[in-house]
């Protein structure tokens, strides 16, 4: 089912509600407009554990398999075990309701282009992720009736915790305000390993007022390589940076490595534009790049032009 069909469905439901409700009273500020059912339907996307908010439509585990391999596996791993990005194991070990999985994928995934899947696609990929997590069988079909009924293995272990749900909630850990001779013995029981800070953070003294900024004569920052304007902005804008960095491999190859690989290849630019557009694997490994349908031809040409001017890796 398409997004507009979903909206029409929700719209009909809301029209009924409004018709039945009490007449609107005047607000004293006369600010803000009454929201129309169409406006509400477009934004009212949340799904509750009882299934409220689930749209019409459906999707099977096998349909979800195709979507997942094309649009999710590059980050979350073929089996949800993680490829660079977080594993989807929490579905089995932390999640209480399958409806929440639908809600989240629908609003926030795939990470580079959220809210791009149709209701059928979200149902399908939700079914597939549930199957990957051994929660539903391979012939499961997700829809607004079946999803709320899925029994999540972790359901009964998630418990609202009253201690922190209000300001007067009872604290679970209590210290005392002892003032004198409170500990018999004080020993340092844990600290950072030697060399840890230097290796990971560099010269930490730069994090304090002083040092380089106070020292007018500190060596100048090495200047960045000259770049064709726009490339960097475009890879941000089109979300390429979630999988690619200039200098290092993330999910996809470093753009510098790409530049090196095709430096002497005259046909490379057209070929790369096609590859980005259609997606695919094989040039750098088995993990596929999803098709990048959203950037315009002009933007892709600019990105590839910029990319091929990047200095090599040395």
């Amino acid at each position: 089912m398409s997004r507009s069909e979903r909206i029409v469905g929700a719209l009909a439901a809301i029209a009924l509600l409004v018709a039945a409700g009490p007449a609107a009273a005047q607000s004293k500020y006369h600010l803000g407009q009454k929201a129309t059912p169409e406006q509400i339907a477009g934004w009212d996307i949340d799904v509750r554990p009882d299934g409220a908010g689930l749209p019409a439509g459906q999707g099977s585990v096998s349909q979800g398999n195709d979507i997942y391999d094309a649009q999710c596996a590059s980050c979350h791993g073929t089996f949800g075990e993680s490829n660079t990005y977080l594993a989807l194991t929490g579905v089995k070990t932390k999640l209480n309701y399958a409806t929440t999985l639908y809600d989240y994928i629908n609003r926030a995934m795939p990470f580079p282009h959220s809210k791009s899947l149709s209701a059928d696609e979200v149902y399908a990929v939700t079914a597939y992720v549930l199957n990957l997590s051994d929660v539903v069988p391979a012939d499961f079909v997700a829809d607004r009736d079946s999803l709320p009924k899925v029994e999540m293995p972790y359901r009964d272990r998630v418990k609202p915790y009253s201690g922190l749900m209000s300001v007067d909630g009872k604290a679970d850990v209590q210290n005392t305000a002892c003032m004198q001779n409170c500990e018999k013995e004080v020993k340092v029981t844990a600290s950072l390993p030697a060399g840890f800070v230097e290796n990971l953070y560099g010269d930490i003294r730069d994090n304090f007022r002083g040092l380089a900024t106070m020292n007018k004569l500190a060596p100048p920052v090495t200047s960045a390589p000259v770049e064709v304007a726009g490339g960097l902005e475009l890879i941000q804008k089109h979300g390429c940076v979630v999988c690619h960095a200039v200098d290092k491999k993330i999910v996809g190859p470093a753009f510098r490595s790409v530049a090196d690989k095709y430096r002497d290849n005259a046909d490379a630019r057209a070929q790369l534009i096609r590859k980005i557009r259609d997606g695919g694997s094989g040039a750098w490994g088995t993990v596929p790049m999803p098709p990048q349908t959203e950037p315009s031809d002009a933007d892709l040409a600019t990105v590839v032009e910029w990319l091929s001017t990047l200095p090599g890796e040395k």
């Binding site: 009273a25 509750r48 305000a177 106070m214």
Partner: protein, 444 residues
């Protein structure tokens, strides 16, 4: 160079130790020597012996007259929107190396070690986003308020700016602040241990004003859903009790419009509650009768307990304090010197009643001075005098809030919650000052 005064409690790195033409190499030489042991001696001899040839005489100090006293300054309005002095360029939000896979779902921490008072400058308030930071056109931004209301409403930013407003000072602390420290110390400075924390004067419309304006169903309304307009469409459940008490639909931060990193043009401000409930780029509030069980209340932001269960809806941020100076990564130079111990305390349950300081790892405590104002659900600045005798010291602060709750020790928290619960680590922080004056993150 100026005379050494043993009574001055100087902290390294202080600017005067690094104003040197040799730049970085000089700093390394100094650092190397200092680790050698006789820190004070080394620093003194450096000052005398290591000043390279050709160094201009320090005419900027008395009796000399510095150039800025003799040259006409920059025109008024040279920086129509002011920026910090260039010398403050190191005082920035920083990400912890290796913490996250992508800069789009990540966090940059507030440099608490360098800040004064209780207000976080807007450009330094920590940043935590889930699917990147959107740039929202305020003219095309709308807030939808619907669900169990008489009249569902759509507000423009102008509508919201015209409604009755409030300005209040409150902290915002990420639920995962100090999360990296549950098992053992793992980061070097207070920026990383406690820097998912900020405090601002927020301005906006009380959520209760909007709920009344839309005529919410007072009998049925129990929980609200707040939703962001970012790519995450981030959602959290807000109980109606909070909503009617002090929740603000905020557009102002310290006198100006919100910064994009803080939710421009509109965010929710839920005082005292986990940062993530303070939904940024707010686009929708739905009034409902049951909690919404969102991803940020199940897969994430629920606290795993030792028995394998998880605590859901752990909203309130409990009382917590930390010494921001001296703190990890600093170095005290002067044995026998005076140092002011200063830091921050806060509670999501009310205000701070008392802060105690220990310099012996929690054996003995004394009360610190609280700087006014001491506000509800806001940062409170505390101070205590201290003369460092040159021997190793273990600095701690412990706060007590208006409910009488005493900030716990790390081991007390672990006894109840184990080490896998990620969120709500409000343990007493220990800084070790070693014999060289270097300050380290440790646990006792």
């Amino acid at each position: 160079m100026d005379q050494q005064d043993p009574k001055r409690g100087r902290v390294l790195p202080a600017p005067e130790n690094f104003l040197d033409p040799a730049g970085k190499s000089r700093r390394r030489a100094l650092g190397g020597l200092l680790t050698g042991g006789a820190a004070l001696l080394a620093a003194n001899s450096l000052r005398a012996a290591e000043v390279p040839a050709g160094t201009p005489a320090p005419t900027r100090f008395p009796p000399g007259v510095p150039p800025w006293s003799q040259t006409l300054g920059k025109p008024v309005g040279a920086n129509p929107y002011g920026v910090p002095a260039t010398f403050e360029g190191n005082i920035i939000r920083r990400s912890s190396p290796g913490l996250t896979t992508t800069t789009q779902s990540s966090v940059a921490f507030t440099p608490l070690q360098n800040l004064f008072g209780i207000i976080t400058p807007n450009g330094l308030h920590f940043e935590r986003n889930h699917n990147g930071r959107p740039d929202i056109d305020p003219y095309q931004h709308r807030l939808l308020l619907h669900g169990l209301v008489r009249e569902p409403k759509l507000y423009t930013m102008e509508d919201l700016l015209r409604l009755p407003s409030v300005s209040r000072i409150h902290f915002v602390e990420c639920g995962a602040n100090s999360a990296m420290e549950w098992a053992n110390p793992s980061v070097p400075t207070v920026q990383y241990t406690h820097g998912m924390l900020g405090c601002s004067e927020w301005t906006g419309v009380l959520l209760s004003t909007l709920l009344e304006d839309a005529g919410f169903d007072e009998k049925k309304a129990k929980y609200l859903l707040a939703e962001g307009a970012d790519a995450a469409g981030l959602t959290r459940t807000i109980p109606i009790g909070f909503a009617l008490d002090d929740v603000i639909v905020a557009y102002g931060q310290n006198g100006e419009m919100l910064r994009p990193e803080q939710g421009y043009p509109l965010r929710l401000l839920v005082p005292g509650v986990q940062g993530i409930s303070n939904v940024k780029w707010l686009r929708r509030i739905k009034v409902g009768d049951q909690p919404f069980n969102t991803r940020e209340e199940t897969l994430q932001y629920s606290d795993l307990m030792p028995d394998g269960s998880s605590r859901q809806y752990t909203w309130i941020q409990e009382a917590k304090s930390v010494i921001t100076s001296p703190s990890g990564g600093q170095q005290l130079l002067d044995k026998g010197g005076y140092f002011e111990i200063t830091g921050l305390a806060w509670s999501g349950r009310g205000h701070i009643k008392r802060v105690d300081i220990s310099t012996d790892g929690g054996k003995n405590w004394r009360a610190a001075k609280l700087q006014t104002p001491v506000l509800e659900k806001a940062l409170t600045r505390f101070r205590a005098d201290w003369t460092w005798d040159g021997s190793p010291a273990l600095l701690q602060s412990r706060c007590i809030d208006s409910t009488g709750y005493v900030q716990p020790k790390m081991r007390q928290l672990r006894e109840v919650r184990g080490t896998a619960s990620i969120y709500h680590n409000n343990a007493i922080q220990t800084w070790l000052v070693d014999a060289e004056g270097k300050v380290h993150n440790v646990e006792v």
